[in-house]
């Protein structure tokens, strides 16, 4: 177990830079999730830590060692792959023991370690089976077992749950979180699924186009997204984001609606972000703007309303209580929560 440090880590393929300098310090025992859309470079970054991709420039350290030029096996890491990459001709036991065997561990030690990992993952009944005789969830657990049995300095997981069905994914997610807390294993986890990211992580790295857009706790990422991309990517349904004009008295919304917001720092055109659940319906005569409700999705506890700001074509998603009585076609009066507004630059998307 150890800390992992990345310092201005970059990667280029044939002169084309795909990772543009990521710097991060992962504490010992911390669970960090790298999340982003496909092609954002998250897997590449993980594979650079693993030693499966060369580091073009910058520095990666695991523990107190700079590992840039070390082979994967010299880095003392373990990895879980998306398709598990279990050795098809070896039994579960042999799969888990293989790394230990290469490391030259004695037979009784190997057996003890495998037994320990198998017990932790409830794999004992399957130890003598081949991977093809296991279900998807069992294979996933074997892949976890193979990684944990080594007690590595860092555990790296590359979309480990994406081959499972939805129900199993939720189960395994809980199990992984639980295992990580019990073993206090420094963990780096890649996913494109924001729910996985939010529920698992101590801290998140939200990546887009080879850049770490934000490195922060899930709470921080949600409540104070650093860029417009992060704001739109994290949260479901996605944050409403549209362009407004700021002046001394408040905001000029699309459709020409003016909303008084005191004490705004921003001036001129900015991008306004509004979480669906932060939008409130106004029943008294406090300031509000009109939204025409186009459709409504009732989910039980919640209902999502989809409408447009009157006089414009800007769409707005609202999260309402399941008890709501509004209906399709209603003209809603909507207010802005002054303390829940997110402003982003129209130039670079950064939070203002």
């Amino acid at each position: 177990m150890a800390r992992i440090q990345l310092h201005d880590v970059r990667k280029s393929y044939a002169g084309q830079e795909v990772i543009h300098g990521v710097t991060m310090d992962i504490a010992d025992g911390e669970f960090v999730v790298i999340v982003g859309p496909s092609g954002c470079g998250k897997s590449t970054l993980l594979r650079m830590v693993a030693g499966l991709e060369e580091i073009t420039s910058g520095q990666v350290s695991i523990g107190d060692r700079v590992v840039n030029d070390l082979e994967p096996r010299e880095r003392n890491i373990a990895m879980v792959f998306q398709n598990y990459a279990l050795y098809p001709h070896m039994t579960v036991r042999e799969n888990m023991a293989y790394g230990l065997k290469i490391a030259g561990m004695s037979r009784p030690e190997i057996e003890a370690a495998v037994a320990r990992a198998a017990a932790m993952l409830e794999l004992e009944p399957y130890l003598d089976r081949k991977p093809r005789q296991l279900s998807g969830g069992q294979r996933q657990r074997v892949a976890m077992g193979r990684a944990l049995v080594r007690e590595p300095a860092a555990l790296l997981l590359d979309e480990p749950l994406s081959n499972l069905d939805a129900k199993l994914r939720v189960q395994m997610r809980l199990q992984i979180r639980d295992l990580q807390q019990r073993t206090a294993q420094t963990t780096l986890y890649v996913t494109h699924d924001q729910v996985e990211a939010m529920t698992l992580a101590d801290r998140l790295i939200v990546m887009e186009k080879g850049l770490a857009q934000q490195i922060a706790t899930p709470h921080e990422v949600y409540t104070a997204p650093a860029t417009e991309f992060v704001a739109g990517f994290i949260g479901s349904p996605a944050m409403n984001i549209f362009t407004v004009t700021c002046d001394d008295s408040g905001l000029l919304l699309p459709g020409g609606h003016r909303m008084p917001v005191p004490g705004l720092a921003a001036r001129g055109e900015v991008r306004l972000g509004l979480r669906p659940e932060d939008i409130c319906l106004v029943e008294d005569d406090s300031p509000a703007f009109p939204v025409l409700l186009r459709s409504i999705e009732w989910l039980g506890a919640d209902a999502f309303g989809y409408g447009v700001i009157e006089g414009s074509d800007v769409q707005l998603t609202l999260r309402m209580s399941g008890q709501t009585s509004v209906a399709r076609g209603d003209r809603l009066r909507v207010g802005l929560p002054a303390d829940r507004l997110h402003f982003f630059s129209t130039v670079d998307g950064h939070r203002l």
Partner: protein
Amino acid sequence: MAARGLARTMAHFWMILGVIIVAFPIYYVFIASTHSVQTILRPPLPLLPGPEAVANYTEAFTGGVGRIGGVSLWLLLGNTTIIALGIAIGKIVISMASAYAIVFFRFPFRMACFWLIFITLMLPVEVRIQPTYKVMVDLGLIDTYAGLILPLIASATATLLFRQFFMTIPDELLEAARVDGAGPWRFFKDILWPLSLTNVAAIFVIQFIYGWTQYLWPLLVTNSNEMNTIVIALKKMISFADADTPWNLVMVTSVLAILPPILVVVLMQRWFVKGLVETEK
């Protein structure tokens, strides 16, 4: 339904006819090997095994063949086995090694090496007989096992098959092995080799047959009868114009020249068919 039943019966009829055409010559040799010279020379030959089987085979193995060709049947079988095994194993070893290098490493001129090997598909021995023979003479390889085996073990086909198979190994498997601490040798020994066994078996069969049935090459690079393969020896034993040919012994030799490769093919049929059909894709 009746029409379908009839079609199936017809199909069986044609298949049986096909099998008779295909298998008859082989059966016929076997029958001939169990009859005396006199019976063989007085057609038509009976369709059932004759009484001379034990006598013919005993004579052939205890020097009968040696009296005709100057070399004992044991030596012929031994030579042919050494050559067929040498070619089959040699090909597997060197083509696996080169396919491993081409698929699992990056180095300058990698694709150039691949093409260099690939193009040899277009250079069968037959089109370069004379100059290859001269190389053999210059290297002193005439009448040696090395001379019989070495030129035939470089094979683009086997390299291509292994390359193709290696490319189907998922990247993650190699990555998992590297994370587990396996280097090139361990990865090969523990992961790749066990996964390649079916392919190895298929190539072994194909190349064993290839080696066993060689004709032109052994004809060229052997002068001494001691180095004869059974196929070449058989050719030398037969003279159709000569009434003295001991046909019963020739037939025994034919059976022994045909039988080992047939056994290998039939016993390893499952892998062989898979390998054969896959090689050529």
